[in-house]
């Protein structure tokens, strides 16, 4: 489904953030990408979201080189990915309801559909009573649950979570990971970039370890080992 072929990313000439990265992810997999801060995890997620272009190599989604997509093609591709970030990246001038509704509106969904789906997803992430709150009125855990709700509302093919538990306490972290596991069980591919040892060890799923921009391990049922 996703293919990284000899991908290198350099922000300056002397140092590569990622070098000669090769891996693929199959449909329905749950893959954790682990590494210390600065290892290259975020660069990798940015390459997958086509926020950055690789210096060398290619990233394919099925048979499409995502970095050769037109603006319109890129928009369509991004609708297939639900992204979750450590800093939540919510629209601060929109309420909880509107943040989710916006993701649906952007894909051209009808108002009736939005009015039906948003309350349902709010119930799923336990934010019904906060529907008309703004992001700055939410706790970290609530923000991340909202971020997950927004990511899954359009039933994407992939969930890409970059350090989703980075700003959360252990309880909220567990809750977020449990939601991601459930999403994966329903057939969505999940790619989780993290440096949270406990979470990775609990998951017992595929683990790709990155160190200094290189993949050093790729274990089918891995543990956090750096």
């Amino acid at each position: 489904m996703i293919y990284f072929n000899n991908v290198t990313k350099r922000y300056n000439k002397s140092e590569a953030s990622l070098e000669d990265i090769n891996f693929s992810v199959s449909r329905g997999e749950f893959v954790s990408i682990i590494g210390h801060s600065g290892a290259g995890k975020t660069t990798l997620t940015k390459l997958l979201l086509a926020e950055e272009k690789p210096t060398e190599g290619t990233v394919f989604f099925e048979s499409t080189d995502i970095h050769k997509l037109s603006s319109r093609g890129l928009t369509k591709f991004r609708r297939k990915i639900g992204a979750i970030f450590q800093d939540f990246r919510l629209l601060r001038d929109k309420t909880v309801y509107e943040n989710i509704a916006f993701a649906m509106e952007a894909t051209g969904r009808e108002d009736a559909e939005i009015m039906q789906d948003v309350p349902h997803i709010l119930e799923l992430v336990d934010l019904t009573n906060k529907a008309f709150h703004y992001p700055n009125q939410l706790s970290g855990g609530e923000k991340q649950r909202l971020s997950i709700a927004r990511a899954i509302i359009n039933q994407p093919e992939i969930i890409l979570a970059d350090e989703p538990t980075g700003n959360l306490d252990p309880l909220n972290s567990t809750e977020v990971i449990n939601i991601l596991k459930k999403i994966n069980e329903l057939g969505t591919t999940v790619i989780l970039a993290t440096h949270d040892k406990n979470i990775v060890n609990q998951l017992k799923k595929r683990v790709i370890t990155i160190k200094n921009g290189h993949i050093i391990r790729d274990d089918r049922e891995g543990k956090y080992m750096i």
């Binding site: 979201l49 928009t75 369509k76 991004r78 990246r89 629209l91 001038d93 509106e105 952007a106």
Partner: protein, 308 residues
């Protein structure tokens, strides 16, 4: 689908405009200054052109005929001159009218009137007052009286006593160059001021969108298309322009009343009357400038963050 998209873009644009209260007010004020400058320049141009028309209307070439010249000869000269394309108007003053004018002008000058009476004859000749279409054409009109052109016969020339163009030539030329200069300077200053104002407005809109760059990035990540992201900014920009044009027109009411009451003689025009009689055109100028400026500035500024 298209209708739903447009409806959502307009609704979001309205929401953003209301929610970003402080920045919306700030950009309305900046835009108001721009529209105020543009409208002031329209007023200045109107005042300048009224003053120049007033001065221009006072300039003419007067042809004095020898006293006793036949009226039919003078009328021949008049009709020849009227045929010239440069000539706007020729006013004939007969000998009798010239004397009556002179007497009324010197009604209080007893000595002059007495001297005139003692002459027992009308010493004043008939005159033709020639107005040109344009100030610069007086020189070419004067050349018709030099005899080098075949417009006037030598007989017609012989009844002309004098032409006052040569005495006024220096003044007319000077005035001509001042008027041309004033027009060019006015246009130049107008363009510079408009350019500066537009630049300030454009940068204000850019600043607002710069503040929204993170939001734009998020919108892109959730799969919003460029037009869908750009649209609400354009709508907000148009609303800023619309509000600013209303504010400007409201501001111009008291300003033009004050200028009309106090500065009419200095400006050569009653600006309140001008404002009232040209209200619709002025409002359209303000509205279109505001809406275009707001819309285009927002579109260009948002585009910058949508290139990725």
């Amino acid at each position: 689908m298209l209708f739903t998209h447009v409806k959502r873009i307009v609704r979001t644009g309205f929401h953003n405009f209301i929610r970003n209260g402080f920045t919306s007010v700030a950009s309305i004020l900046v835009m108001t200054i721009t529209l105020f400058v543009i409208t002031s320049l329209v007023f200045i141009q109107a005042s300048l052109s009224a003053s120049l028309n007033n001065i221009e209307s006072k300039v003419d070439i007067t042809v004095y005929f020898i006293p006793g010249s036949l009226e039919s000869d003078i009328q021949n000269v008049q009709s020849s001159i009227e045929k010239l394309p440069e000539v706007k108007e020729v006013i004939y003053t007969s000998q009798t009218e010239a004397l009556a004018d002179f007497k009324s002008k010197h009604a209080n000058d007893y000595l002059t009137l007495q001297a005139l009476d003692e002459l027992n004859a009308n010493p004043l000749g008939a005159t033709l007052q020639i107005k040109a279409q344009d100030l610069s054409q007086y020189d070419s009109i004067a050349k018709y009286f030099s005899g080098t052109n075949n417009v006037l016969s030598s007989g017609a020339l012989s009844i002309i006593s004098k032409i006052d163009y040569n005495q006024n030539k220096a003044v007319i030329n000077k005035l001509n160059s001042i008027i041309n200069g004033a027009n060019k300077l006015g246009l130049g200053i107008s363009l510079i001021l408009i350019f500066i104002s537009v630049l300030i407005t454009f940068n204000t809109m850019r600043l607002i969108i710069f503040m929204s760059r993170d939001e734009i990035a998020v919108m892109r990540l959730v799969g919003a298309g460029s037009k869908y992201i750009q649209g609400p900014f354009i709508v907000s920009g148009i609303l800023v322009g619309f509000s600013a044009s209303i504010l400007t027109i409201l501001l111009f009411f008291p300003v033009s009343i004050w200028l009309g009451n106090n500065m009419s003689s200095f400006l050569g025009i009653n600006l309140f009357q001008y404002f009232k009689s040209n209200f619709f055109q002025l409002f359209i100028i303000m509205l279109s400038s505001g809406v275009l400026l707001g819309g285009i500035s927002s579109a260009l500024a948002a585009m910058r963050y949508l290139r990725k």
